[in-house]
């Protein structure tokens, strides 16, 4: 598979102010289907802004973002939202599960805005939970789960819609090292199964385990290195 699932063309994002802050400065990059990429940088390097631009939660002031071949700058709110629901899966550092909902319902939220029927949502969510190794926790609420389990539920939620790309923002940032290893292993496995994953992190150690690493500094790409599969 070598389709481009993500392409940024001369993308900049400037925040108004005196002087204006250029958080992302003329970034051009391509991510191919099935790639496992890390975007690495110190805090303040523009990682979060880049994540928001890739995830279409924010729009560039210059340049274009293509997701799965669609130029997102031409889309209206409803279409961008539809694109997010169909093509992008988000994993957040703080999991951001909805309290009071069972794991399966939380995962199903990932399908609700696709207009899927309740039954199909439940079935696909259960499958997704099995995929992340939580088949036995379907009816548990986040409050009953460990941090690692919650992050697995969040990953299942990101995967359930079969997105073109999964964006994970510091997915291990809130986890102890043992649990982090499990999550990293899970992401590796999912990638091996064909998911395109972009991880945003400031954790160099985590980044080292990811085949392609894009380093960001002051809003610009300063390095784009790929380790061959044999070493990963």
């Amino acid at each position: 598979m070598s389709d481009t699932v993500l392409e940024l063309k001369n993308v900049s994002r400037e925040y108004p102010g005196v002087p204006p802050v250029r958080a992302i400065d003329n970034v051009t990059l391509k991510v191919m289907s099935g790639e496992y990429t890390a975007i690495v940088g110190a805090s303040g390097s523009g990682k979060s802004t880049l994540l928001n631009l890739i995830g279409t939660l924010d729009r560039p002031t210059e340049g274009s973002v293509f997701i799965d071949g669609v130029n997102t700058s031409q889309l209206r709110d409803r279409q961008v939202a539809g694109l997010r629901s169909a093509r992008i899966g988000f994993v957040f550092q703080q999991f951001h599960l909805l309290e009071g909902m069972t794991a399966v319902d939380n995962v199903a939220t990932g399908l609700i805005y696709q207009g899927a029927s309740r039954r199909s949502r439940q079935e696909r969510s259960t499958t997704a939970l099995h995929r992340v190794g939580l088949g036995h926790r379907c009816d548990h609420t986040p409050a009953m789960m460990s941090g690692g389990e919650r992050q697995r539920v969040a990953i299942a939620r990101a995967l359930v819609g079969d997105p073109a790309i999964v964006l994970a923002d510091e997915p291990t940032g809130n986890l102890d090292s043992k649990t982090s290893d499990d999550i990293v292993a899970l992401l590796e496995r999912l990638n091996a199964e064909g998911s395109t994953i972009v991880v945003i992190t400031h954790d160099r150690e985590l980044a080292q385990r990811i085949p392609r690493r894009i380093s960001l500094s002051d809003g610009q790409i300063v390095d784009d290195a790929t380790t061959t599969k044999e070493h990963s």
């Binding site: 389709d3 481009t4 392409e7 063309k9 979060s48 928001n52 995830g55 939660l57 924010d58 274009s64 293509f66 799965d68 071949g69 669609v70 130029n71 031409q74 889309l75 709110d77 409803r78 279409q79 961008v80 939202a81 539809g82 694109l83 997010r84 629901s85 169909a86 093509r87 992008i88 988000f90 957040f92 550092q93 703080q94 951001h96 909805l98 309290e99 009071g100 909902m101 939220t109 990932g110 609700i112 805005y113 696709q114 207009g115 029927s117 309740r118 939620r157 510091e170 940032g173």
Partner: protein, 406 residues
């Protein structure tokens, strides 16, 4: 596939099924049922008071109207008015006879108020009138008024010529006469009169409850009065009330029709059914204020809820919710909160109406419109209250909302 060959963007459209709209709209309520209940209380109070006001006044009116139905609105009364000089006028002695000749008049009977007093016995001073009056009347009075006897019988052609008396309910009570077994007598105009009957209270003629009725013939012969009618009561064919009314004055007193007053006693009762409209408006207004306060309460809680649920909003947006979906979710939530309050309010209002009406011995009459209106008002208030918080929720920047610590 390259980025240049963009597929049609329209294939991506965020969609939310109506059932899921309700599901997302109730998620806040399900997660915090206690808060939802307290929030709905304000609306419940407003709606309950409005429903109760409408229900209680409707029940009261229904009761009055039922009483009107029972008493009939076809009873008229004729009384002497004033002459040109402002002096008290009189009705001719044959006025009842003349009135009875009007075609659609079913019956008429006169009473003549006498100066005499009625006392328990001759030992009681004349000054002790006890608020009671003595009227000379005709046997037909009881039928015309459709009055009922509590005990004994009314005057008839024979007893009207004898010193016998029938007492109104209050008069009997004040004279201490409860039964007729011992042949009670009362002292009227220096004579003993045998009590032959006691009337039930008369709803439209409370003044007659305080009256002792003697026959017109005996009043004329024994008491030596002329017995000119002070009031003539008449029943008409129900459909002819207005026609009869138009000719009554001229019939009763052809010489001076201007000196005749014609009235319909049931008008007073009808007026009572209308009179509390101002009070009703006031109480409805108070209910409206409670509803408004309830609505503001909902708006407040919703605004807090939006602040608390920033992350949820951000996550939902990231998962594909449009601004519209977020706005509608909050409007649905506040509308459902208000609906919850509204339904409770209607139930409480109904219970209050039923309880009050039962205690008053009224018919329970809660207009369907009041119930529908109550729920509709709650829905409207809820939807309005949700608009501003919903707009705030929709405007939230999703990138900000999902940021760690954001």
């Amino acid at each position: 596939m390259t980025a240049v060959a963009s597929p049609p963007a329209t294939r991506f459209r965020s969609r939310l099924r109506p059932s899921d709209l309700v599901r997302t709209g109730t998620s806040g309520i399900r997660n915090r049922p206690g808060r939802a209940a307290f929030t709905a209380v304000g609306i419940a109070i407003g709606i309950a008071s409005m429903v109760a006001v409408l229900g209680i006044s409707a029940s009261s009116r229904a009761d009055l109207l039922a009483e009107l139905d029972r008493l009939g609105t076809n009873l008229l009364q004729v009384q002497p008015g004033q002459d040109l000089f402002g002096e008290a006028a009189t009705l001719p002695a044959d006025a009842p006879l003349m009135i009875r000749r009007i075609g659609p008049v079913d019956g008429a009977a006169s009473v003549a108020k006498l100066q005499a007093t009625v006392r328990r016995n001759d030992q009681i001073p004349t000054s002790a009138r006890n608020g009671l009056t003595v009227h000379a009347t005709e046997p037909g009075l009881i039928d015309t008024l459709e009055a009922d006897m509590r005990t004994g019988r009314f005057l008839d052609a024979a007893s009207a010529q004898l010193p016998t008396v029938v007492l109104g309910s209050v008069a009997a009570e004040r004279l201490g006469i409860t039964n007729l077994q011992l042949g009670p007598r009362v002292w009227i105009a220096d004579r003993w009169f045998a009590v032959i009957g006691v009337l039930e209270p008369m709803a439209l003629h409370a003044d007659l409850d305080r009256t002792a009725f003697i026959g017109l013939p005996v009043a004329r012969t024994e008491l030596g009065v002329k017995g000119l009618p002070s009031t003539v009561y008449l029943r008409t064919v129900p459909s002819q009330v207005n026609n009869v009314r138009a000719v009554l004055a001229r019939t009763a007193n052809p010489a001076d029709p201007n000196e005749v007053q014609v009235a319909r006693p049931s008008d007073a009762l009808e007026a009572r059914a209308q009179v509390d409209q101002n009070l009703q408006r006031l109480l409805l207004g108070l209910g409206g204020v409670a509803l408004l306060v309830g609505g503001l309460g909902i708006a407040n809680v919703m605004i807090i809820s939006v602040l608390e649920r920033r992350t949820e909003i951000g996550v939902r947006r990231a998962l594909g919710a449009t601004k519209g979906h977020i706005a509608v979710q909050f409007v649905v939530e506040s509308t459902l909160l208000a609906l919850l309050g509204g339904l409770f309010g209607v139930a409480i209002g109904y219970a209050a109406t039923a309880g009050y009406a039962r205690r008053q011995g009224w018919i329970i009459d809660l207009p369907m419109e009041a119930l529908v209106l109550g729920v509709a008002a709650a829905l409207a208030v809820g939807a309005l209250a949700g608009l501003y918080p919903a707009a705030r929720a929709a405007r939230l920047d999703p990138a900000e909302a999902v940021r760690p610590g954001g």
